[in-house]
């Protein structure tokens, strides 16, 4: 590759904490990598594992899932439910060979604009090192039932 690889990152965030935190990064004019696309959901409780799979299918090289810190959830416990799902889903992805480094989870409050900006930069840098997630995207080229049958 002659062109430097620009990773595509999709972030699924809750509207009350991380989305507001990302807005704060903006109002504070903090600069961060332009590689992230944010999908706003009401709560981390609404973020389905299917969203992550679809983002990977659409060429995301990394995915960030982020919401309110434990105890801070606008909906009191959506993030606790989300945390359990993440634990399980993460184990599943890891077991099936989808690297844990590509699916990141964080708590970012409405006050943590700086944390948001830093994390996006960090994920962008890390993903640049990991390279594009072609392994997953190329699944669309493997035609079923042809390999061993």
């Amino acid at each position: 590759m002659s062109e430097p690889f620009e990773p595509k990152i999709v972030a699924f965030v809750c509207t009350y904490c991380t989305y507001a935190g990302a807005d704060l990064a903006g109002t504070s004019r903090l600069k961060y990598a332009p590689n992230v696309r944010i999908v706003r959901l009401p709560c981390t409780g609404r973020i389905s594992p299917m969203f992550i799979l679809k983002a990977l299918q659409k060429g995301a090289d990394s995915v960030l899932v982020s919401g309110c810190h434990p105890g801070d959830c606008h909906f009191t416990s959506g993030n606790y439910h989300a945390r359990r799902r993440w634990t399980v889903f993460r184990a599943l992805l890891s077991f099936t060979g989808i690297p844990e480094e590509r699916i990141r989870f964080s708590w970012i409050s409405a006050a943590e604009g700086a944390k948001f900006a830093e994390l996006i930069n960090e994920i962008t840098d890390d993903t640049r090192k990991l390279g594009p997630f072609t392994q997953y995207q190329e699944l669309q080229k493997v035609i079923e039932t042809q390999s061993s049958y």
């Binding site: 299917m50 105890g71 993440w86 399980v88 993460r90 599943l92 077991f95 060979g97 690297p99 669309q140």
Partner: protein, 276 residues
């Protein structure tokens, strides 16, 4: 009197007394070492039941046949501990009423001997401890550990190879007692979460989703493994999920019949070391 005769007469008694309207058990299969489900509605039919070490299927699946239990009548069913475990899960998920299920319990020991399990109602089987100690066959654990020892890339290649064999026949779903949804997510086309195109991506998605939906719900009966016509080791993923919910949340599916679903409950101090 051997266990087979004992259970034949018990099933017949249940039917003739009218306590149950149906007994689900095993009959002879297409070959000498295979058994197929047998549904007995009369004491005479009950005489055809076979019970031996080849009776490995988890018959609890058939309890969920649509309309079967809606008349409130009881049904008898031959169940191994894994079957009892699935009944526990199904009761906790409100798919079965405990009073409608009469259990003819048995266990296969050393792969050849069949022993009777005491009790008839689910509440008689206080087998929480036993279920906690239930382990899948050693080859499953071994295979799972082998996969865990691989690099992420190797793991991916391994599953890509396996999942590429999938012909989307959904036998794994049909045979699984936990797949009782009236509409499976794979059949949702608005939106089409699971790709139907003829590439492996859809298979990957389907198998991931199924494993996720079974996390903390799998009774580890191995029915999916046996049902798969292309021999994808589906059980490994489910085993790994069970291991995760146990280590992270100390949750063992089907330990009792009043558990809250593991993914619809939480503790404030659940582990979260991976969250930045």
């Amino acid at each position: 009197m051997g266990i087979q005769e004992q259970y034949r007469s018990e099933a017949a008694a249940l039917l003739s007394s009218g306590e149950v309207k149906l007994v689900i058990g095993f009959g002879a299969g297409s070959t000498a070492d295979r058994r197929r489900p047998l549904f007995a509605r009369t004491p005479e039919e009950a005489q055809k039941f076979v019970l031996d070490a080849a009776c490995i299927a988890n018959l609890s699946t058939y309890l969920l046949a649509e309309g079967l239990l809606s008349d409130g009548k009881k049904v008898g069913v031959f169940l191994k501990p894994d079957g009892i475990r699935s009944v526990n899960i199904l009761i906790s998920e409100a798919q079965l009423k405990p009073e409608q299920v009469v259990i003819l319990g048995y266990a296969i020991e050393n792969g050849k001997d069949v022993a009777a399990l005491e009790g008839r109602n689910i509440s008689d089987f206080s087998i929480g401890e036993k279920i906690r100690n239930l382990t899948p066959p050693p080859h499953v654990i071994e295979a799972a550990e082998k996969i865990e020892a691989m690099s992420a890339e190797e793991r991916f290649e391994y599953w890509k190879e396996e999942f590429s064999k999938c012909i989307k026949c959904y036998a794994c779903r049909q045979v699984c007692p936990m797949c009782y949804c009236r509409r499976c997510i794979v059949d949702v086309n608005q939106p089409q979460w699971v790709s139907t195109s003829s590439h492996t991506l859809g298979n990957f998605e389907w198998n991931l989703v199924r494993a996720f939906h079974l996390a903390g719900r799998c009774a580890s009966c191995g029915a999916c493994d046996r049902a798969c016509p292309v021999n994808i080791p589906l059980r490994l993923v489910n085993y790994r999920m069970g291991k995760e919910v146990r280590s992270a949340f100390d949750y063992v599916a089907g330990e009792n019949s009043d558990q809250k679903p593991v993914l619809a409950s939480f503790k404030q101090d659940d582990p979260e070391t991976f969250i930045l």
